[in-house]
Amino acid sequence: MSRYVIGRIGQAGLVLWAAFTVSFILLQALPGDAILIKFLNPELGLGPEQIADIRASYGADNPLLVQYVHTVANFLTGNFGYSTHAGVPVGDLILANLPPTLWLSTLGFLLSLILAVMLAALSALSPFSWLRSCIQSIPALFISTPVFWLGILLIQIFSFQLRLIPIINPGPWQALILPVVTLAVPISAPLAQILMRNIDHVLTEPFVAVARAKGASHRWVLWKHVAKNAVLPTLTIGGILFGELLAGAVVTEAVFGLNGLGGLTQRSVNDQDIAVLQAIVVFSAAAFVLINLTVDLLYPVFDPRLRVRQGAVA
């Protein structure tokens, strides 16, 4: 068991390193850089020699390999460098922008889970097949709803028409309600689809017929036999979706004017603030890897078939 865990952690480390390296190469390959954008401004009146000096002070004229080794060493010691644009440590910048994104994505994910489970349960319990096919088509509707459109629609209805949620100076919780809903609706769709498909599939399994033959009612079978078997395969996709959420809900943050990681990413791209982008990429990759690692390690807890067999073999 411990060997499996160590192996998985090793793989996670490898993924992180690969993400770092690829993003480093891509970011360096971009034409121009943040220093040029900031200091080539004619109003500053800096000569070419002065700019070269500034570049040297940032270490921007070192060979690429030296820069790479430097950056790796710095990242390993927790030093993510300075934002060229804002002039503050990148670590501080990310920490400041993290809480809104963390809240948004966690709550959004939880709400999408609740939505997905509700839809799946409704479809499984519906007594008529026409009703079931109606419910089963809802996720397709959800997934094809553009986020920016849904966000604006929700603001229109709840803030401007019904005036339930103030748009100017909302409380910290009030500010989260609409973005969380906006985020949850499209995320819930794939979860609900997979859940419904799994439930339908598990219902055709012979062990369900055996349970019915024991005298178990439809509800009993759904709750005691189908639920766990149907949820297991959704863990993986759930982890991936949550990782994507953390990595930045750029559009949602933009629509609702939240200062999260998404907003930070967008500004950094505009400014070509490579140090910030590099840190964001590594942070997102780390979040992704960590969530998936957790999911992988959780699987044996839920599924006895994945536990390491003890005792003699067959």
Partner: protein, 564 residues
């Protein structure tokens, strides 16, 4: 068609009220064009303590009939007419809710496939306890004690440990015992056993059927046994009901039906069923003198190890298997699951490198092959798999399927390919109109013909038939076996026939190797091995073949063999 629905009273000492009485049952499934009826006017009686076998081929409606009795038809199924009387009460029109009260307690089910019939994420104990909980049989502690009692009763070793284990930790036979424990837990009046042993090895099948018999006597439970295997039905049932296309062909006491079948269909079924009474219709003399000179396959001391878990644990799947197959003859490899027969074949075909030993096929040293020489070798030896539903690509047309091997090898011009494909299709007895169809438009037997055509299109010397007729109905099985025989004579093919079915093996092969736990426990000419088995295991295997018991005073083996 004459439908005989006369039900004779088999004996006088049975109580007057039948446990189950089905009269004029009709069941339909909703399809694209409304409801299509698949069971027509089926009537039968099951008396207390009696075993009634519903016999038929796939599509005969036997499982549908059984499902209708217990109210578990598929969602698009509908009971359209007729009555299902359980102890005199008609339950045909009952709601699921009402049926829940009698399912598990008055009427229960032993399912077909033990591997998928237990919930993989619940413990064995919990699944046995469930039937007691649903019908509120006592407190938690009482139920727990009862579960251990039941697991002990069905013959599981270490019942306390088993109760805590999960299904994947038990073998197929053990799982079927658990399912039997669930079925008998509340001593129901009727058990529906839907192909209860079809997925099990022969020796395990015998033990499971014995257990069902034993519990039936002990509890006085009646059994409706659904089976495709006439041998099993002959051994275990008091009464036979033969179904074809949803209609009862004939029914009566087992001995009567077997001894003097009234319907043509039953006669055909009996004739096609493989049995120990049958040997190769054309017996070819294998002369020992040319032994060694004209051998198509020579296997010497084959050993195959697999590492499991860590690098230190080595599992020996095949341990010193040796045999030779003379050109133009059939050699069978017989064994139960885990015997190493599939591993042996994979080595012979060159799918894996053996740990040690020597394999020569058509004079080629298989172990020295690699890369392109290995690919070329596939022209010499071809495979036909068990499942004709899974071994054909559903998106290809039959022409594409049969043509594909030609493209992979010499790739002759288009007209020649078409000519070859058409010729081989003729050879395997398929109409040319099949060329443009796709696999789903063909029956199981036709698909297996396509698989054989695909294997033969390269003119191989050796054909490996891996359980190639095991998934087919007996009448279709008989046709495919006849086709294989004819092809062998016409083309001089050598067959390596892998099977768990000894009756079929005796019918088709000249020589045989019996494998058990990776070792070859018996080998030689089929007649010698069958009549004078050397190992205890082979004797047990032969003894486990259904259709040999004489519960009704009739020797089914002889009566089945006499049909030829």
């Amino acid at each position: 068609m004459t439908t005989a629905i006369t039900i004779k009273s088999t004996s006088t000492d049975v109580s007057n009220l039948p446990v189950l009485e089905i009269s004029n049952l009709a069941v339909g499934y909703r399809g694209n064009e409304g409801f299509q009826r698949v069971v027509h006017e089926v009537s039968l009686l099951v008396r207390p303590g009696e075993v009634v076998a519903l016999v038929g081929e796939s599509g005969s409606g036997k499982t549908t009939t059984a499902q209708a009795v217990i109210g578990l038809l598929a969602e698009n199924g509908r009971l359209e007419a007729g009555a299902v009387r359980l102890n005199g009460t008609d339950i045909a029109g009952w709601s699921q809710k009402r049926l829940d009260a009698i399912r598990g307690s008055k009427i229960s089910l032993i399912p077909q496939d033990p591997t998928s019939s237990l919930n993989p994420v619940k413990t064995i104990g919990a699944q046995v306890a469930e039937v007691l909980q649903i019908h509120r049989q006592g407190s938690r502690a009482e139920i727990d004690a009862r579960v251990i009692d039941l697991l002990t009763r069905v013959g599981l070793s270490q019942p306390v440990l088993r109760a805590k284990q999960y299904p994947h930790e038990l073998s197929g036979g053990m799982r079927q015992r658990v399912l039997i424990a669930i079925a008998v837990a509340l001593r129901p009046a009727l058990i529906i056993a839907d192909e209860p042993t079809s997925a099990l090895d022969a020796t395990v099948q015998k033990r499971i059927l014995d257990l069902i018999d034993e519990l039936r006597h002990e509890y006085g439970t009646a059994v409706l046994l659904v089976t495709h295997d006439l041998g099993v039905a002959a051994d275990r049932a008091n009464h036979l009901v033969v179904l074809k296309e949803g209609r009862v062909q004939e029914q009566g006491p087992t001995a009567e039906v077997l001894a003097s079948p009234r319907s043509d269909y039953t006669r055909k079924l009996l004739a096609d069923a493989p049995s120990l009474g049958k040997t190769r219709s054309v017996s070819r003399s294998i002369s020992p003198r040319i032994h060694g000179r004209d051998d198509a396959i020579v296997v010497e001391n084959l050993v195959q190890d697999f590492t499991i878990g860590g690098r230190r644990d080595v599992f020996r799947a095949v341990d010193g298997v040796s045999f030779t197959v003379q050109r133009g003859t059939t050699h069978a490899i017989v064994g139960e699951s885990g015997s190493g027969k599939t591993t042996t074949v994979r080595s012979i075909v060159g799918f894996q490198k053996p740990t040690s030993g020597r394999i020569r096929v058509d004079g080629i040293d298989v172990m020295s092959l690699h890369g392109d020489t290995l690919r070329r070798f596939r022209k010499t030896i071809q495979l036909v798999y068990q499942n004709p539903f899974a071994s054909l690509d559903p998106r290809q047309t039959i022409f594409q399927i049969v043509e594909e091997p030609l493209l992979n090898f010499d790739c002759p011009p288009r007209e020649e390919r078409a000519r070859k494909v058409q010729a081989i299709l003729d050879r395997v007895g398929l109409p040319q109109s099949a060329l443009t169809r796709r696999p789903h438009g063909l029956s199981g037997g036709q698909r297996q013909r396509v698989a054989i055509a695909r294997a033969l299109v390269l003119d191989p010397q050796v054909l490996v038939l891996d359980e190639a007729v095991s998934a087919l109905d007996v009448t279709v099985q008989a046709q495919i076996l006849a086709l294989l025989d004819e092809l062998q004579q016409a083309l001089g093919l050598t067959y390596l026939f892998i099977s768990h079915d000894l009756a079929v093996v005796r019918q088709i092969s000249d020589t045989v190797s019996v494998l058990h736990n990776g070792r070859q426990v018996d080998s030689g000419f089929v007649e010698d091995v069958f009549l004078r088995p050397e190992s205890a295991y082979t004797r047990e295997l032969i003894g486990a073949i259904p259709g040999q018991r004489k519960p009704t005073g009739t020797d089914i083996t002889r009566s089945m063999g006499a049909e030829r």
